[in-house]
């Protein structure tokens, strides 16, 4: 009778108060902020003349609106500069730790949180950014919030939140060679659509999920929002604990072994009931690519574009409008289609394993002449690691320039925009119209597929560029 899902266990232990017929008052353990969605929240505190309630539980970084070249110079765009400066002022005024531009710990909020040991199992984590779901990889309840809610957390360390329903997605079976965690999540979204998990919090289970590294799990949880889910989480296990044990330090934890023993209880009870259950076979997944303007419009890279939308409607105005924007037609094959840009980076695929995967294919090869590549590490630490492992040199020898960290072309707030009508194979998370710049045409894919496109100048199957031995490593 008392069986609970992992989601329920964490949620219920964070409820300060339940409002009858209303939302729960949920206590937040960790709050991440960045320059774009926080200034209006700080304005609200100022208008009310109230302090930040628990400044030690909020951490800040500048990532969305910063350049990826010459970060030591003043930011050229005045509005962007103002926003980044405002973040520094607010953090100083309210006593919040900031990993700002040029700080050796700076980076994309969802990359630095885990790598600095601030994201820990069992926590509730929020940030004014929908990809906060990334942190669910550690067995946390982590989700994106709006600026009004950022203000609530700053003011009271709580938010008002209706409890979502529970969904379990189980992925068993053996993954094929050359299939990455990016392909897994793109496959799931293509099956259930960009709104298929709206109203739910997802727990990912199964042997194929268990086999993934922490970075792979972060990629999966990161894109939970792209199927509408409030968030996604994976129960912590030895892989999680090993990752945490290897970190140089974990702020606030003195006895890691004791904490690990406690975290071992963080799993759904065997007879816990979910509101919805979905099961997929890992062996049926191939490298994926999107063909439309939402992440649900994805297919195997060697497949053809469907003839109709999800409901079988050939004349759907949304479906046709989307293909028209992309310059594609129903039934078209995408392999061999020329591309113009490649972007590797973002909170989805901007970690060291992603750059290693990309390197595996470009090693000993050259960037295609027709391709402009944006290679953007997710953090300073990733950037440093790339240098240390010789990846930066390897990229350079293959004709690629490695930029400085930031969100960059994922949302194109800075100058890293894809021009009108150009095709970009991108390891980011959204292929919305204009997401990477006005008129830009985004094709979401894994770092391996991005690498294959970068060296051929066209949409290519990454498996064609891997030896049998290399495929095993991925």
């Amino acid at each position: 009778m008392n069986s609970k899902t992992l989601f329920d266990k964490i949620w219920d232990s964070h409820v300060v108060k339940s409002i009858e017929d209303g939302p729960d008052v949920l206590y937040i353990d960790r709050h991440y902020i960045h320059e774009v969605t926080s200034p209006q929240a700080f304005n609200g505190l100022k208008e009310r003349s109230i302090p930040v309630f628990r400044p030690g539980k909020t951490l800040a970084t500048a990532d969305h609106n910063i350049p990826t070249r010459n970060q030591h110079l003043q930011i050229k765009d005045q509005l962007s500069r103002n926003q980044v400066e405002r973040l520094s002022e607010n953090c100083q005024k309210y006593g919040i730790e900031l990993f700002g531009l040029n700080d050796p710990k700076n980076g994309i909020v969802h990359v630095i949180g885990p790598e600095l040991g601030y994201t820990l199992p069992g926590m509730t984590i929020v940030c004014g950014d929908s990809h906060t779901s990334t942190h669910g990889a550690f067995g946390t309840i982590a989700f994106g919030i709006g600026t009004s809610e950022v203000e609530m957390v700053l003011a009271t360390q709580c938010i008002l939140q209706p409890k979502p329903k529970r969904m379990r997605i189980t992925l068993d079976g053996k993954l094929h060679k050359g299939v990455t965690s990016k392909d897994i999540i793109m496959f799931i979204i293509s099956r259930i659509s960009a709104s298929g998990a709206t109203g739910y919090f997802v727990e990912y289970c199964g042997s194929a999920i268990r086999s993934l590294s922490m970075e792979g799990r972060m990629t999966i949880c990161n894109m939970s929002i792209e199927m509408g889910a409030r968030g996604g989480l994976i129960a912590p296990d030895e892989t999680t604990f090993e990752y945490l044990k290897k970190l140089p330090s974990i702020p606030g934890i003195d006895d890691l072994e004791a904490s690990v023993n406690k975290w071992k209880n963080l799993h759904s009870d065997t007879d816990a009931v979910f509101d919805k259950e979905l099961k997929f076979d890992a062996a049926s997944i191939k490298p994926m690519i999107t063909y439309g303007t939402n992440p649900g419009m994805g297919m195997a890279i060697d497949d053809t574009i469907p003839l109709s939308d999800d409901n079988g409607n050939k004349a759907s105005s949304s479906f046709l409008k989307s293909l028209d924007y992309m310059g594609f037609k129903p039934g078209m094959k995408l392999l061999g289609h020329p591309i113009d840009y490649v972007f590797i980076g973002s909170c989805t695929n901007g970690r060291i394993e992603d750059f290693r995967a990309f390197a595996q294919i470009i090693k000993g090869r050259r960037k295609a002449e027709n391709v402009t590549a944006l290679i953007v590490p997710g953090s300073k630490k990733v950037e440093d690691q790339m240098v240390a492992e010789g990846l930066t040199e390897l990229y350079k020898n293959a004709g690629f320039e490695v930029r400085q960290p930031g969100c960059s072309s994922c949302l194109a707030m800075n100058e890293d925009k894809i021009p009108l009508g150009k095709y970009a194979v991108s390891t980011s998370n959204r292929n919305f119209e204009g997401r990477q710049g006005p008129g830009a045409r985004t094709l979401l894919a894994s770092p391996l597929s991005a690498a294959a496109a970068a060296i051929t100048g066209k949409i290519s199957d990454p498996r064609d560029f891997m030896t049998e031995e290399e495929k095993v490593k991925i």
Binding site: F53, G146, E149, M413
Partner: protein, 200 residues
């Protein structure tokens, strides 16, 4: 957060018959550099409203003088994608007070309710009917009664009850604010913190 009261609204509508209208369409990221909440309405649906050269796109519905009103009627999964509250500020700043669809993305729904923009979910069938009616007659009016939770198409008399969280309804009717409420229970929050630390 602004304190906005919502009671009864009677208005013509602007139709946007597309599915999955994401927050990047509502307000593209390159317009998110402001540090206040005001002025986002100018760039609402920016890349649909204006051509690449900055001219008004006369094909887009917001530029068609026949269609106006305080109610936006849109296809399913409206507001998907980024958590940017700027999307709601842009819609509100432009002059809309309610958005009607068969399905909203979660974060958008929460953001709307926190800013006095009422999201109303109606069935796919009624949504299609409403979109067709507005296309045929831009003068088609709807009435939204929040107190009674009734949505009515005035010309046809189609009337349905819509759902809203009772707490949020109360907030909207009275112009109350979540932060006022949370501040009022700070003692409870502190005792939660103390108990939680003891458990550890």
């Amino acid at each position: 957060m602004p304190k906005v009261k919502f009671d009864i609204l009677e208005s013509t509508c602007v139709p946007l018959p597309f599915e999955n209208v994401d927050t990047d369409q509502i307000i593209p990221a390159r317009f998110l550099s402001a540090t206040s909440r005001q002025g986002f309405g100018d760039n609402l649906f920016r890349d649909w409203r204006y051509t690449k050269s900055g001219e008004k796109n006369t094909d887009f519905i917001l530029n068609d003088p026949h269609f106006n009103g305080k109610v936006l009627v849109a296809g399913k999964n409206f507001g998907s994608g980024s958590s940017r509250e700027h999307a709601v500020w842009a819609i509100f700043d432009y002059g809309f007070r309610a958005v009607v669809s068969s399905f909203f993305a979660d974060i958008f729904m929460g953001n709307a309710l926190n800013n006095g923009l009422l999201p109303i979910v109606i069935s796919e069938v009624l949504l299609k009917k409403l979109l067709d009616l507005i296309q045929k007659d831009p003068g088609t009016k709807v009435k939204i009664d929040l107190e009674k939770q009734i949505f009515t198409i005035l010309s046809t008399g189609d009337s349905v009850k819509f759902n809203i969280n009772p707490y949020k309804k109360e907030c909207l009717l009275k112009g109350l604010d979540d932060i006022d409420f949370l501040l009022s229970i700070k003692g409870l929050i502190t005792s939660y913190e103390n108990n939680k630390i003891q458990v550890k």
